[in-house]
């Protein structure tokens, strides 16, 4: 009996040590970025020490004085807010009948949604580029914000999973009280789905804050440049020498970019696990 107890204890300690090891692996790049942002260029390119020998704020000053940093932040926030609002509204609307109503063609629509989930966006980006060029949306945020208002399959899917986990009796009770189908959605489902709205909202914000591919394709000018593109272009080179990559200022810009998702996570973490429902997940 005693040996079983010590065995259990040993395994607990073992798991704890593994947790710490994985934690170190996962977190070390973040520490590297943050400490790197306080190093001078010379130190960054000559020593591999984690902590800076002499802290400097030059890199942060460089970012603010040598680029339209505030403009890039504004663009990124606009992109993030527009797409997130769009997808929350449209995806939840579309998910409602798929989770709750019976109508002809429901299975077809759901299969098509799951099917389109499988198409990588990158395969269709060139025709979309030509299309958006025809309507004159290139070099603006519209090619990314407008489609968000027409429901992302993946988010529809997550909403549907969550709506299905809410007991159907609530709908029936609401119908008895004279609630219409539309009323059920607004008065029953939405108030009960706060955690899903938060989860999808947080995930969407983080996704668009970090998105590089679509802005790289659609945006050319400095006017609509997002932070991710700025990281690849504006902060890349030192002002005096076009061939020396200014690593510490990239690290400083990266540090600034990590902070908002980090705060968002701290705010949303308690919803993150409960907001994703996997029960009854099929295909």
């Amino acid at each position: 009996m005693k040996s079983a107890k010590t065995k259990k204890r040993a395994s607990r300690i073992l798991v704890f040590i593994m947790k710490i090891l994985v934690g170190i692996i996962m977190f070390s790049p973040i520490i590297w970025v943050i400490t790197g942002s306080f190093k001078t260029l010379t130190e960054f390119t000559s020593s591999s020490g984690i902590f800076p020998q002499k802290e400097t704020l030059e890199n942060y000053k460089y970012i603010f004085y040598h680029s339209n940093y505030v403009l890039y932040v504004r663009n990124t926030v606009l992109l993030m807010a527009g797409t997130t609002a769009g997808t929350l509204i449209s995806s939840s609307l579309v998910a409602y009948p798929l989770a709750r109503m019976e109508f002809p063609g429901k299975n077809l629509i759901f299969s098509l949604i799951v099917g389109t989930m499988m198409i990588p966006n990158i395969a269709l980006i060139v025709p979309q580029y030509i299309m958006f060029g025809k309507v004159g949306w290139l070099d603006s945020l519209l090619p990314m914000i407008v489609p968000a208002f027409f429901a992302y399959p993946y988010n529809v899917f997550l909403f549907r999973q969550f709506f299905r986990s809410i007991p159907k009796e609530l709908d029936e009770a609401a119908t008895m009280d004279g609630c219409s189908r539309i009323g059920i959605f607004f008065r029953v489902l939405i108030p009960l789905s706060k955690s899903t709205f938060t989860t999808i909202g947080v995930l969407s914000c983080v996704f668009w804050w970090n998105e590089l591919t679509q802005p790289v394709f659609y945006i050319n000018s400095d006017k609509w440049r997002t932070l991710t593109i700025a990281l690849m272009t504006t902060f890349m080179y030192t002002s005096g020498n076009a061939f020396v990559i200014n690593w510490p200022s990239i690290m400083a810009a990266s540090t600034l970019m990590i902070l908002p998702p980090m705060l968002l996570y701290l705010f949303g973490s308690r919803f993150l696990v409960e907001g994703i429902k996997t029960s009854g997940l099929k295909g």
Partner: protein, 307 residues
Amino acid sequence: MEKQSSKTAKKKKLMNHLTAYAFCAPWMIGFVCFTLFPIAFLFAVSLTNRKLNGVSRFIGLTNYVTMFQSATFWNSIRVTLFFTIVMMIVTTVWAVVMALLLNYRQRLNGLFQFCYFLPSVIPTVALAYTFRTIFGKEAGLLNGIISALTGKNVMINWLYDSRTVYLALFFITLFTYNTGQMMLIFRSGLNDVPRELYEACEIDGASPLKKFVGITLPMISPIILFNAVMGCISALNGSFALLYPLTGENGDPNGMSQVLSLLIYKEAFSNMKVGYACAMSVILFLIACCFGIGIFAISKKIVYYEN
């Protein structure tokens, strides 16, 4: 009287159907405008010699002929398949490991989840640059650590050496957005596994490994499938954002990391051959379809569903 009530019932049913379609309308419009039409357009443009400035002429299957004779294209196909499959497996396994560790209730779990999930919210570009410096030849963190441990002066250019580049790349995929998201989904799935099953197993004196293979794995197999599908798409889709800042549009070293999306970007924007890039997109589209169908075909055999 009865006839009338059946008529109103019918009318009510129709109204219900119409409401349902109205709710679905945003998706339907989006599907036609941003998916169906681009697909048709993609096939059409792939048959022309369209340039970036919009000049185009119908040239039949010439693009496809050129493409199938190009060594760069075939290399890219190989890299894409290899990269997608390995990344899918590596990230899924890593996400399961992290989820299992976190679901083992202990002190400081909140802190651990923070550490495990945070890398996935780093912008991919920032992640790419971070690892370019960590894996760098001079003053790189990894070379520094190895040098300190072995006492020798290690100078490996991890990302530009053909022997280490894949090792480095797949290590980086552990930190991507997709891995973190998968971990959350696995955590939620593991929480749903009924406790009684484990208790029954413990009475029989089963080892932890046996419990994992006998209970956990079959119970979460639908979620593994879901994540494998999502992992596959994001490997096809997200590889651009990761590899473009990491190894450039030529996929250094020697095109070893030039996945199809990088090649499409290069052909469309550097070489300005949009028609040719569309022909490649068609192939990428077909590869994605094959992956989707393939995963579902395999899953029918090995995934366990309740009821």
